[in-house]
């Protein structure tokens, strides 16, 4: 009995995937969604366009902000928006990269936290790419990892 890394070959991975039962049946999901108030409700999403004025890879408790990464954006109407990106959007291979002064478009749900508006960001469009940050329930994705798992949409979608 020996330890081993589990870098399975593509065929083995495919075979294992075929054995896996479906875990995201849309019917059950929609049944529950219809009757339960949601903290992240895609029907309440807004889309904003603005210029990046600040980038925080990790908010600290002293900042009194939601944890994780943030991008502060000044919209075309002059409004300053705190866009919350969760924990992994700016970490690892294939992660989101935006720079000060860059124009980006954000889609998410706006919430008021401690009397401040925060955009729970689901999508960012920047430099011709669409970065998918959250799923439709508000949970954040990880960037694509070296073994191929993760958020392939970060690289895949282009405007």
């Amino acid at each position: 009995m020996n330890w081993r890394f589990t870098f399975f070959g593509p065929c083995a991975v495919m075979a294992l995937c075929l054995l896996a039962p479906p875990i995201q049946a849309q019917g059950a999901e929609s049944t529950i969604k219809s009757s339960i108030p949601l903290w992240y409700d895609v029907t309440k999403e807004v889309t904003l366009t603005g210029t990046v004025s600040s980038v925080m890879e990790r908010a600290t408790p002293e900042m009194k902000m939601l944890g994780g990464s943030h991008v502060i954006v000044q919209t075309t109407s002059g409004k300053v928006v705190d866009a919350s990106l969760g924990r992994l959007a700016m970490r690892g291979e294939g992660s989101l990269s935006v720079t000060l002064g860059e124009q980006i478009r954000l889609t998410g749900v706006m919430k008021v936290i401690n009397d401040k508006e925060v955009l729970f960001t689901r999508l960012i469009r920047a430099r011709g790419h669409v970065y998918k940050i959250r799923n439709e329930h508000g949970y954040t994705f990880a960037p694509e990892s070296k073994n191929g798992s993760g958020n392939s949409e970060i690289k895949a979608e282009r405007q």
């Binding site: 294992l16 339960i36 944890g67 970490r91 798992s149």
Partner: protein
């Protein structure tokens, strides 16, 4: 039992022979004990990871007073970058202190997990068979348990199970359900609930073909086919009624437990009575604890109601709930599979999967003969993703909240910003003092520390409106030396299941933890 005499008693028992110590055996001429362990948390890559294994420890102290690790094996998986399957343990040691605390180092063959392949856990024994553990080597932070292994036989019969971890995109995922392992073929049949980052599918039949394979000599086995908990599942036997589970897929990770439902399945709504509920997850960024009563009978729709504290502020900025009333309706089928549906929600908690266990089992201490059963639970709504337990509440007496306890908790101040702590302490006249380990390698609470000498102090104030509920504001955390600046968990609540078991939760805005205080 006073802690000063705990190790003496253990040594005497072990000296008397293996029968007194459960799974004692002889390896290389040395009497040994096997302990099954598991934990989950966040590693230095910011990834949710799972670990489970069994460690063989000599029962005779070495010249330096430590107990040598003579073998074992483990599985480590973050489902994203590192998956190390069946990693043999080549060495290490357990160094005990007189108060029930200990440090366990494990040397792995792979030299991958921990620091250059050596993992270090702070260990806190409530009795000779049971301990809380937290990794303190700086490579990761996590919480879990270590239990005497009292059997190595293949599982058989009916079980309830839950597991939690992260999916292929490192989003939180939980599983729950009931299954039956055929005593002749070890084939698995049953029902599975999955909540994958808010995508919920309940009551799926486990696909044909899932079969437990016989475990090795250390009680580690694999499940052929898919139970639906990931794809590749490994189990470690704790005892005749309890196994730990770990998903060893390279694309996702989870760890959990399966508990026997006992000899006969005749469950129903009455299987859940006055209880304490504890649920949450570090990956899911929330925590909840509460107490509830049920009304069930042939002529009424089973209902539950209670009061709880809930904190999802780290996840979504919602304000923490303190002493919040909740209620709803529930079902329990004869096979122990059921659900709670909240009409008056606790935070965003809306639906729980319920999986009843053997009413004689002690969920938190599988080797204890003083069990009262309860149920495993898993969040099954789009809002929250976590697992937990429901255990009977047998006393809310403040006088019962007294004596020596081990304690621990896992918490977050942000996504991936996990901290863990554990220790030993005493409660005298509702004044709590303890010492232990604070694992904060990623600077969630401090500048970044792995302390084995943290101190914990609080005064428990009974909530007269809700007997069984206490506030411990603040829980002050300090350093024996100057390892870190002292700080407070400002708002902490505990709910008492028995005098021996309480669950506590931090309900500060922007910081949560969930854990327990346990007595022999």
């Amino acid at each position: 039992m006073r802690r000063g005499t705990l190790w003496l008693a253990l040594a005497v028992l072990c000296a008397l022979g293996s029968a007194a110590c459960g799974s004692g055996n002889n390896k290389q001429g040395i009497y040994t004990q096997n302990y099954t362990f598991y934990a989950n948390g966040v590693n230095s890559g910011g990834l949710t990871y799972s670990i489970a294994g069994v460690v063989t420890i000599g029962t005779t102290a070495s010249a330096d007073g430590s107990f040598v690790v003579l073998g074992g094996e483990q599985d480590y998986n973050d489902g994203h970058v590192t998956t190390v399957i069946d990693d043999l343990l080549t060495g290490g040691k357990l160094v005990k202190a007189a108060d029930g605390s200990a440090t366990l180092t494990l040397d792995t063959t792979s030299k991958i997990p921990g620091v250059m392949g050596t993992e270090t856990f702070a260990v806190f024994f409530s009795n000779a068979n049971r301990a809380l553990i937290t990794e303190i080597d700086g490579s990761a932070t996590s919480s879990g348990s270590l239990d005497l292994q009292s059997a190595q036989s293949i599982p058989s019969g009916s079980y309830s199970f839950v597991a939690s971890g992260a999916d292929a995109t490192q989003m939180p995922i939980v599983y729950g359900g009931v299954w039956t392992v055929d005593p002749m073929t070890a084939a698995v049949t049953g029902n599975l609930d999955v909540n994958d980052a808010g995508n919920v599918v309940t009551n799926t039949s486990i696909a044909a073909g899932a079969t437990f394979m016989a475990p090795d000599s250390l009680g580690r086995g694999i499940v052929m086919g898919s139970t639906g908990i990931g794809t590749s599942l490994v189990y470690y036997v704790v005892g005749p009624e309890v196994i730990r589970l770990i998903d060893v897929d390279t694309t996702d990770t989870a760890v959990g437990s399966a508990y026997s439902q006992g000899a006969s399945q005749s469950f129903g709504p009455a299987s859940i009575g006055t209880s304490v509920l504890s649920i949450g997850s570090s990956a899911g960024l929330y925590a909840a604890v509460g107490q509830l009563t049920t009304i069930s009978g042939n002529s009424v729709l089973p209902t539950f109601s209670g009061v709880g504290d809930e904190n999802e502020s780290v996840l979504n900025g919602n304000a923490p709930e303190l002493a919040e009333s909740f209620s709803g309706a529930y079902t329990i089928a004869t096979n122990g599979y059921g659900s709670f549906t909240f009409t008056n929600r606790l935070g965003s908690m809306s639906v729980l999967g319920i999986y009843v266990v053997d009413p004689l089992l002690n969920i938190l201490d599988p080797n204890s003969l003083a069990g009262a059963g309860g149920a495993l639970v898993a969040e099954m709504d789009p809002n929250l993703v976590g697992i937990g337990i429901i255990v009977p509440q047998t006393t809310a007496s403040t006088s019962a909240f007294s004596g020596s306890y081990i304690f621990g908790a896992q918490g977050d101040t942000g996504p991936g910003d996990e901290f863990d702590f554990a220790g030993v302490g005493t409660v005298t006249a509702l004044s709590f003092t303890g010492t232990g380990a604070l694992s904060d390698p990623f600077a969630s609470l401090t500048a970044g520390v792995e302390s084995g000498t943290a101190t914990f102090m609080a005064t428990a104030a009974p909530d007269s409106a809700h007997p069984g509920r206490y506030t411990l504001n603040p829980l002050a955390v300090g350093a024996t030396g100057s390892e870190f600046a002292p700080f407070n968990f400002k708002t902490v609540t505990a709910y008492q299941a028995t005098g021996n078991l309480l669950f506590w939760i931090e309900v500060d805005d922007g910081s949560d933890f969930l854990g327990s205080l346990q007595q022999n």
